[in-house]
Subunit: 301 residues, 2 copies
């Protein structure tokens, strides 16, 4: 699993500070998370193949998180896309996009599905054989969700040494991976756990932007491998964070600590701060494994 | 009068090829013409003061001409704008913008006026003491207008030599500028035209994008000082121009020739052409005073 930051700044796009957008590579998917103005240019800049994006998750309907969506949808059309596109976002997103496509007389030549969200509890919004995506209800000025991306438990792994020792045939591999015991040709019975290893621990990534400090998300993101949490402000503006329903770096770190996350990435920085290292300084007393997001940076999970 | 090209490419924004947007400096106004995605970044890049933009003219509702508008309107709000903003564009533009502001729960803290256009004949849409703006009905796949910006005839200019010769007092200057005759203290009667010069010829700029070859606009743009005309395609793709209701470089030049324009600027280039000099080559046989638009370039009028 790999997270690519396309933009991680709040409010308005600047030449070298793009608004929120991320690409998560997970189990052959490229999930686009939020889509601020100019996201399509950032995608090209990072040489991400447009056609691989089939699912877009929009946290909320503030411009710095979705004003690039309609342009991306239009560009997909101009590029001759044929693959389905699924957009997950707050109720209203379908009306915004379809109104613009209708007035432009430019409906997509691919299937465009909207999955509008209005739930106030965490809900499962995507599932396939390998992973699940759930919402993380956040507390912001408008209806907002974070998203939890979690791999499913994989198959058991063959213990190569034992496979050779017992000279196990290929046709037994799948049953072993599925956890079944097997009987060899010489009638030897093999207990599954004697010749296999536990599956690799499934990875989990939680995206939480935008939100005021909100401990109620902790059980949902419990022990995630990577938590991206917004940190719009520093301590000096904690009042402003409260008022605008954003978080400070310290608050984001406290959430990571409470959730026992393995790693924290801060983002959604206000442009008022020149020196981003202060975000690290104020977060580390509460949570050590913290990084700052940066446009163009990636994180292996 | 000065035209600043922020973007002049068609279809989708690329890192070094921005979609249509221009700023026209005219009589203390900064008029923004079209507003493709990323226009606000281009405005910052060219250090154009956001607060000076009070009128935005949108030709049509294709994304490459207005997807940057909602972001710019939002940024104006975040920057604490108080001045009124007037947006002129096709019917539907108000619904698109207000729907997004409503769902973001972020109405502007300044007055935002929409002037929706549906006329099929050229009409006056803006006028003050010094200039007029009229629509230029274009023929494209959706309802589209170009815009004609014209200065009004100014005041007569004082002939400095004569002013000194007759020792004319300051308090007579305004009457002379207004074209009145005056009587000096020694009872000398002065005919206005003996001591003043004709007003400077008013300048006119016509913006025509997007449109198929359409001679019916010629009377409206007759003898303009500068004509910006779209040239999406080269001759090799004239069929495609016809089909998509765009123009070729040669067709744009023919319009400039028929209108007896003083100067032509081509833009809205398709990204399929690497070498833009071919646009010049194909235009000059029909019209000599032709330039290519370029992101960041300006033209004095």
């Amino acid at each position: 699993m790999k997270l690519n930051i396309l933009g991680c700044h709040s409010a308005t796009p600047l030449e070298n500070a793009h608004t929120t957008s991320q690409v998560l590579e997970i189990k052959d998917h490229l999930f686009l998370i939020d889509c601020g103005e100019g996201t399509q240019i950032q995608l090209r800049h990072q040489q991400i193949k447009f056609s691989r994006i089939k699912h877009i998750f929009i946290s909320h309907l503030h411009g710095d998180h979705f004003y690039g969506l309609v342009g991306l949808i239009s560009t997909f059309r101009l590029l001759g896309r044929t693959a389905d596109l699924h957009v997950y976002g707050p109720k209203g997103i379908k009306e915004i996009i379809t109104l613009q496509l209708k007035l432009a007389n430019s409906w997509t030549n691919y299937n465009l599905f909207f999955h509008e969200l209005e739930g106030k509890e965490s809900e499962l919004i995507f599932e396939d054989d390998f992973l699940k995506v759930k919402t993380i209800p956040l507390d912001h000025r408008v209806y907002t969700n974070g998203f939890l991306f979690e791999e499913k438990m994989g198959l058991r792994r063959l213990n190569k040494e034992k496979i050779e020792q017992y000279n196990i045939a290929h046709y037994d591999f799948q049953n072993l991976k599925l956890g079944k015991d097997i009987v060899l040709e010489d009638s030897t019975e093999l207990i599954n756990s004697d010749v296999t290893l536990d599956p690799r621990a499934p990875k989990r990534y939680a995206f939480c932007s935008d939100t005021v400090y909100n401990e109620s998300i902790v059980p949902i993101i419990d022990e995630v491998d990577l938590l991206y949490h917004e940190a719009t402000f520093l301590d000096a503006h904690e009042n402003l964070a409260e008022k605008t329903k954003h978080s400070t770096a310290a608050q984001a770190a406290k959430i990571a600590q409470l959730a026992n996350a393995k790693r924290l990435v801060l983002g959604h920085f206000s442009s008022r701060y020149r020196d981003k290292s202060d975000f690290l300084k104020e977060a580390t007393p509460f949570f050590e494994a913290v990084d700052l997001a940066e446009d163009g940076k990636s994180f292996d999970i």
